[in-house]
């Protein structure tokens, strides 16, 4: 950290989150206690408890699905698309109104820097509702036939890395298409989804159209196994996704999966270096690297590898790791002890397998779940840190000689969610984009998201797309 120019602490006020001592689950338009034991959700930045959260049990899962079914068969299916759209517009606006509150709450519950929740998570969540609101009355123009029908009741299971944003990605298109929803937020990050439920209740959405059940894996399993769902949408690890696909094999439940990744961020010798370094940093340290589409493998052309890595390391010395509520923090806390253990284990393997580990000097707080931004050089394709998803702020650097070799290495994985390409040459950008087996290719940029742009994976990164016109397909009977 600079001694000449010390940035004073610039904390966002915690009070803005309007944190309550307890939160309830949302079933059939009402907030209520869960039938399982409530749990405390903690702040990963300092391990202090934030609130007590009701946990759903099997009875709540059943109630929620029945409520969603009643709502689907009843009021919701009778509404025109235009009316459904107006509900979604209301929700979008309300999210914008309470943006700051939601951002602080998200940072407290998840551990991500307030700058990210404020500037990325919450605005994109509102934008997603706004975008799909407009589709609700235009489905006949969406390319799925003159009168595409919804599926019915959708069970939706979301991860902890972008809690509110993932809730928006699931709920918005489902409702736009006329489905009803039972959403299960992640066990460690239930709060913003439950506040979203308040927003939904205030928007006067008919009871049962959206239900939010806080809980752990058993609640998700309960949703998947319940014969009252017509659709399951899951975002999370590839391992769990495969389990869900297996579990649904004997049934005709429509499924979409958005799973893990091990994206290659490819930097050519003619890349705009300073912007490429920003793209690399954003690619692996945004959200502490806890992103399915993280650029966790840097594939740098051998001729410029030293220079790029030197620039990268210099740049990393200006990253500020610390209190998520400080507006100057760049890298926040890891979401849970379990996740931190996973990150540590894989990082150890990097050193054991012979890669060279480096981190910029940074002071980590003593309490909380923290991991310093880490770069491994001398990584080869066979190393675990080049093959397995770490889901943390750890970058593996590999080299390549030719475009063909870059493509070969980039595609040499069971994953296929995203990729980055950095070069000034237009024809090369398009050639690489065509050949990379990834659902999202960012050329001369990285980690860009928009409700109008479809997002999803090839191969074991999942199937189905979220965002854009294509995102409707997951929630229509087509």
């Amino acid at each position: 950290m600079s001694k000449v120019f010390e940035y004073a602490p610039a904390p966002e006020s915690r009070e803005i989150a309007r944190l309550r001592p307890s939160y309830q689950i949302f079933v059939n338009g009402e907030f209520r206690d869960g039938s399982a034991e409530p749990v405390k959700t903690i702040n990963p930045a300092d391990e202090t408890p934030l609130a007590e959260v009701a946990e759903a049990g099997p009875a709540d899962v059943d109630d929620a699905i029945r409520a969603a079914r009643r709502a689907y068969d009843g009021p919701w299916s009778k509404l025109s698309g235009a009316e459904r759209g107006k509900y979604l517009f209301r929700i979008a606006r309300a999210v914008q109104e309470r943006a700051r509150e939601l951002a602080v709450l998200e940072s407290l519950d998840n551990g991500k820097p307030i700058r990210e929740s404020r500037d990325v998570d919450i605005p994109l969540a509102a934008a997603h509702f706004f975008y799909y609101a407009g589709w609700a009355d235009k489905l006949e123009h969406a390319g799925f036939g003159p009168a595409p029908r919804p599926l019915g009741v959708a069970g939706q299971i979301i991860p902890w890395n972008f809690p509110l944003l993932m809730a928006a990605w699931k709920i918005a298109p489902a409702l736009a298409c006329g489905n009803t929803v039972v959403l299960k937020p992640a066990e460690t990050t239930p709060l913003t989804a439950l506040v979203l439920a308040e927003i939904i209740a205030e928007a006067d959405l008919p009871p049962g159209v959206v239900n939010v059940l806080a809980g752990g894996p058993s609640v998700g399993q309960g949703l998947v196994e319940h014969d009252g769902v017509d659709k399951i949408a899951f975002t999370g690890s590839t391992e769990v996704g495969k389990g869900i696909q297996r579990a649904l094999a004997a049934r005709d439940v429509k499924l979409t999966l958005e799973l893990g990744g091990k994206a290659a961020n490819i930097v050519f010798d003619d890349a705009p270096v300073d912007q490429a370094v920003e793209g690399i940093v954003n690619g692996i340290f945004f959200n502490q690297g806890q992103v399915c589409c993280a650029g966790s493998r840097l594939l740098v052309q051998e001729s410029v590898a030293d220079e790029v890595v030197d620039s990268l390391k210099r740049r990393l010395t200006t990253l500020r790791v610390g209190d998520p509520l400080d507006k100057n923090t760049d890298v926040g806390a890891i979401n849970s002890a379990a996740q931190l253990a996973r990150v540590r284990e894989l990082t150890e393997s990097g050193t054991e397998e012979g890669a060279v580990r480096w981190s910029p000097p940074c002071e980590l707080p003593d309490r909380g779940y923290w991991f310093a931004p880490t770069v491994f050089t001398g990584v080869s394709q066979a190393h675990r840190i080049a093959r397995e998803e770490i889901f943390g702020p750890v970058l593996s650097v590999l080299t390549f000689r030719t475009p063909d070799e870059a493509v070969l290495k980039a595609n040499n994985t069971a994953y296929g969610l995203s990729a980055g390409v950095w070069t000034e040459k237009g024809s090369r950008i398009l050639a690489m984009a065509a050949r990379l087996r990834a659902g999202v290719v960012w050329a001369n940029t990285f980690n860009k998201f928009d409700p109008a742009a479809p997002f999803g994976g090839y191969k074991e990164s999942g199937f189905g797309r979220e965002g854009g016109r294509h995102g409707l397909e997951a929630y229509l009977d087509v």
């Binding site: 120019f5 004073a8 705009p272 220079e307 001369n444």
Partner: protein
Amino acid sequence: MLTETPSSGLADVTRDDAALRRFLHGLPGVDQVGAEARAQGLATRSIKTTAKAWAIDMSIAMVDLTTLEGSDTPGKVRSLCAKAMRPDAGAPPVAAVCVYPDLVATAVAELRGGAVQVASVATAFPSGRSSLATKLYDVRDAVAAGAGEVDMVIDRGAFLAGRYQQVFDEIVATKAECGGAHLKVILETGELATLDNVRRASWLALLAGGDFIKTSTGKVSPAATPPVALVMLEAVRDFAAVTGQRRGVKLAGGIRAAKEAVRYLVMVNEVAGEEWLTPALFRFGASSLLNDLLLQRHKLATGAYDGPDYVTVD
């Protein structure tokens, strides 16, 4: 890319026009959107309380208090110099005053004995559209009158036409005329139009011996902008990495608010490095910025928002 040429450092790249062109065109490109995004990201830094107080005082100390109007008179310049030496109670003096060559003597007389430098524009400022002989005479005049700093303009026409060697030679010749005065090279980035050109012109000026690279004359818009400053700070950073020499950056034109100045200091800190956080290596060419810095200084001290009656007009 940006690696030092194998044997004789950077001397080789300036040996002829072709070599110079190859070097400048071989520098990495700048993605405009990415550069703007980085500049915008740096602008989200929240600088409060003690950090803000430090940044405001440092910004004041980095100001080249400027008057470059056709209507300037000795009276105006004397007034400016008084303000430069003592902007406000408790505030540090600024780095320099910046005037046209024929008012240098007035400024020198007024400032004599103090820490504030006298900078003069020269070389047919602001357009640069005169013969080299005329432009060098302009410099000689300013230096003879006592200017310790010379702010020259490059020939943008020559640059945009690709006559890099000509631009280079003019800077070298101007530097020679400066004697002991330090030379700032105004790139007029608004006319260069692209960030790639800003990078190339920055390197050209540094290779030619400029002590500072400067964004603008202040007579053309756009002048200093965050992406332009970003690219210029990257240039001096990379130049230092290759040669071991630290050169300075001056942002001029369009900077009116203290908030902007503080943002630029954050940019200097995180892009070039804290070694550049000194008036010896970073300046703001400005006139109204100083008063806004003083107003913010008052607010920090009193806690209340301030008004224009509490700072002097000059």
